[in-house]
Amino acid sequence: MSNQMEKIIEKLSPMERKIIPFLNLSIEEIEQKSSLDSVSTLRALKFLENKDIIKIKKTSKKIIDLGTNGIYYKNNHLPERKLLTLLEQNKTISLQEAEKLSKLSENEFKVSLGILKNKAFIEIKNGKIVLTAKKEEITKKFLEEHLIEMLPIEESKLAPESKHALENLKRRKNIVEIKELNLVEFELTSIGQKLAGKEIKSDLIEELTPEIIKNWNKTKKFRTYDIQSPVPSISGGKKHFVNEAIEYAKRIWLDLGFKEMSGNMIETGFWNFDALFTAQDHPAREMQDTFFIKDIEGVLPSKEIVSNVKKAHEKGIEGSKGWGYEWKEKEAKKVALRTHTTCVSARTLASLKPSDLPAKYFIIEKVFRNETLDWKHGFEFYQTEGIVIDEKVNFTHLLGFLKEFYKKMGFDKIKLVPSYFAYTEPSVEVQVFHEGRKEWLELGGAGVFRPEVTIPLLGKNVRVLAWGQGFDRIITDYYKIKDLRELYSNDLKELRNKKAWIK
């Protein structure tokens, strides 16, 4: 035996060895003689193919059989035949009467009328059916009837006129059924021809057992594994990919010395809007943009904060003119799902004591907008929010933090363009350059909190740098997701196979 042959034999698994003696037979016979089930037989054949011992050929054929309605019609005639038989007895008959006498369902009746009309067997005049077919046409079997009698049959064996009939029947419900049959055959390669039919004995070690380890001696040999042969895929426990991305972003803020804030998703207008100097007639406070909660009134904070916020809105505070309107507590007590995490920043500011400064805080959490749900809109998404509170910080530091964060998120180029928010001045819109798509992505806003925001909350005008950008866009970009809904669709197959977040 040649060296090459020996190597092949060393690699043969027990299953392969079991079927080699019968390789000159058909697959069914191999199954019987080797007493392997069909799945194992196929797998063994696949392995043999990998070793170039056989070549597998897969073919498929289409079998046409009767569907559930087809079985019924075969025994009880097609509805159009029933109608025709009725018309043969009553040459002119009204539509209603024909439907009643034919005992067909409304749908069957309509279909039958159509078919007979197409065959030019009938005409419909003034709500009446008139039979126009000749005697011999009526007695002759329809092509469809012929076909039904032939079934089951292989599609390739159909005559052209039967094929036409098949197309007609396929359009009707459950008359025919097409099944695809996959066939596996194989032929022997030159190596296979040498091996087929041989009994292959082996004293190679198959599985390593405690027994063998105990009695190990170096004359023993292992069967060689085919390291290329495919293995069934597995999947394990893992974090949701969105949370993986968030963990990463959280790490960045923590590494920069930020403290994590937390806050409620259900929030009063006071914290979501008023404390952030958003006038009570601002469009964002309308129902079509924000999810308000029915029949609930929220609780306002201390009188001092409320009256300072009221003053900031109405007349202004320390050098500001304010919005010049009458501020109402009722509006501030309305409860909604927070539209941004900036309300958490506002609450955090209000909780700080002078001894807590300087301070840096962040939060990455969900926010809500009353939006429709489609590939580019969603009603909830993540926002990455931060504030830096210190007398000495300035606008260029805000740009510094944003630049650092987005660099670590993989965006080296960042652009800051003027923007407008009621609660920041100066305000910027953050854009990052997407190297792959060669375009700028708009991520959201940032700025320095206005004195009308900081004075009521902190008691004095301490500088506060603030930002809050959408985060979902970065996640969809990393995972190459086109449809925003995929982020939270929880398709387990997707979740199991999603690549890990590595930056």
């Binding site: 003119k321 000495k392 003027p418 004195p451």
Partner: protein, 543 residues
């Protein structure tokens, strides 16, 4: 926010759109949405409604490009005889104020008329808060006789042909039939009288904030002079809006006249283009922007944003609505300086990083469960209307006007979990899953209702059973160091005799096998075991 389109050729009579200019426009703070050979579409931020007209836009960009220096001056002519508007006290509780002007010498073509109407509509929807705060009317002076009266009449006394109609309608019909009437009727709700502008012959010019008369309130190619009124509740906003319109008309070549407004004993003259001057401190500028600007720099930077500057004092254009505080001017200085010229810096502030305790515990729990081979899901906080019927909860919180089928806040994590199992019934089993997230309940007591927002953990597995889910609970709590006991109990979604309450100082959750009836309702074909606990309790238990 509003997007506006300008004709490119019209704009290019004043400003050539070279790539350099396009870049400058973006640096100026006007995002360009699209640009073609014939048209440019820009986004106007809500603080700059003065950029909504092509004239206002050109004025500002010419400043920014340095082609025009500082504040543009407009001449306002004194009111002529009869240039008066009498404001009747009837309007006091409805729409109390109006600010008015007259412009003559106009030569209007179709394009100018359509750009005026466009400006009017954009001002209505932004600054005007959908006509609630400001509504604008423009009338051909040739068709009306001065002076004007602004008053309110009972609806049965109001009858005129509204714009786009050919028959007179009364006030009620206008609110019911006219498109503008239907859209804005809510602004007149609960009033027994509706505001109207009348000319000296008692002809109705308009019924603000709804619609003008087709006879006296429609400008055409023949119109040479116009009467302009802005009505609403905030006199200051009305004056600013009027300033935006009359400067636009002046830039179209119009001659502007002011009018005398007679509010009972008080007299006002509008429009008023007198400028406000405010002091600005160079220290404040440099401290906020992190720059080292000198007074001389301000002389260069402020005129680029349309201001005049002289020795610490800034003169503010009378069409700017957004200057409430020094910081607003400082932002403009930064824009003039160019955001692209600012150098990002990292400040030297030492602070200690800290994650919340809740985050730390959640991460630990996730680690333990992932170690057991569980997959994490992340679902919406909202649930659908039909889902609330499948798993009933009495203290459900409903959202107002949701645009999707998701209309309620989730009261537990079981509903999203069952949805996920339903949607994954054709995916590989076993499905061993967990999720951590907030749940929302309404807490009612005799006097008030409030919302409770808590964090839960759910573990759900299919196919699975009570023993397996209890094993997980046991392992998790052993690692977290929490002692617990189980108490037999019934749960509407679980099989009786195979469900339990989890007690650790108090009831903190439940576990068990989901009842086949529930599985059927959700179209789930495999057995499911579930465990849901309140993390808020766990946070307290871990010290």
């Amino acid at each position: 926010m509003a997007n506006v389109k300008f004709t490119r050729s019209e704009l290019e009579k004043s400003i050539k759109l070279t790539s350099d200019v396009i870049e400058k426009i973006e640096l100026f703070g006007v995002p360009i949405e699209s640009i073609t050979d014939t048209e440019i579409e820009i986004e106007v931020l809500p603080n700059r409604p003065d950029l909504l007209s092509i004239q206002g836009f050109i004025r500002a960009v010419n400043n920014y490009l340095g082609k025009e220096k500082g504040l543009k001056k407009y001449k306002i002519n004194k009111p002529e005889k009869n240039y008066k508007v009498f404001i009747d006290s009837e309007v006091k509780n409805i729409r109390p104020y109006t600010a008015c002007a007259i412009a003559s010498n106009l030569s209007l073509d179709d394009e100018k008329i359509s750009s005026l109407i466009d400006l009017q509509e954009k001002l209505h929807s932004t600054l005007g808060r959908k006509r609630k705060k400001v509504a604008i009317g423009i009338y051909p002076l040739e068709k009306i006789s001065l002076p004007i009266t602004y008053t309110a009449l009972s609806p049965d006394k109001i009858k005129f042909i509204p714009l786009e109609f050919d028959k007179p309608l009364d006030a009620g019909q206008i609110l019911q039939k006219h498109p503008a009437g239907k859209e804005y009727a809510h602004l007149l709700e609960n009033f027994s009288k509706y505001p109207v502008f009348l000319d000296s012959k008692k002809n109705i010019l308009s019924m603000p904030p709804i619609i003008n008369s087709n006879e006296t309130g429609r400008i055409t190619n023949e119109t040479k002079s116009v009467f302009i009124e802005c009505s609403g509740s905030d006199f200051n906003a009305l004056k600013k809006t009027l300033n935006i319109i009359i400067t636009t008309l002046a830039d179209m070549g119009g001659k502007i006249f002011s009018m005398e407004l007679i509010y009972g004993k008080n007299k006002e003259i509008t429009p008023n283009l007198e400028t406000e001057k405010i002091k600005i401190s160079i220290d404040n500028i440099n401290s906020l922007l992190g720059l080292n600007l000198k007074d001389k720099d301000l002389e260069n930077l402020l005129p680029k944003m349309g201001y005049n500057y002289n020795k610490g004092k800034v003169e503010i254009p009378p069409w700017r609505i957004d200057i409430l505080h020094e910081v607003d001017i400082i932002e403009d200085i930064a824009i003039a300086y160019g955001y692209n010229n600012l150098i990002p810096q990292m400040p030297n502030i030492s602070t200690l990083a800290e994650e919340t305790k809740e985050s730390r515990i959640k991460r630990k729990i996730a680690e333990i469960l992932i170690g057991l081979g569980l997959l994490e899901t992340s679902s919406y906080h909202l649930i659908k209307g039909d889902e609330k019927n499948k798993i009933r909860s009495e203290s459900l919180i409903e959202l107002e006007n949701s645009k999707t089928e998701y209309k309620f806040l989730r009261p537990n994590l079981l509903i999203p979990a069952l949805r996920i199992l339903t949607e994954n019934k054709d995916n590989d089993y076993p499905q061993k899953i967990f999720e951590i997230g907030k749940v929302f309940l309404l807490e009612k007591n005799s006097s008030e209702s409030k919302v409770s927002e808590k964090e839960n953990l759910i573990i759900y597995m299919s196919p699975s059973n009570f023993t397996e889910i209890k094993q997980i609970l046991d392992y998790l709590f052993r690692l977290l160091g929490i002692k617990y006991s189980l108490k037999e109990s019934s749960h509407s979604s679980l099989i009786e005799g195979r469900s339990a309450l989890i007690n650790a100082n108090s009831n903190i959750g439940y576990l068990g096998d989901i009842h086949p009836k529930i599985l059927q309702d959700w179209n789930i074909k495999m057995p499911v075991a579930v465990l849901e606990i309140s993390l808020s309790n766990i946070y307290e238990l871990i010290n």
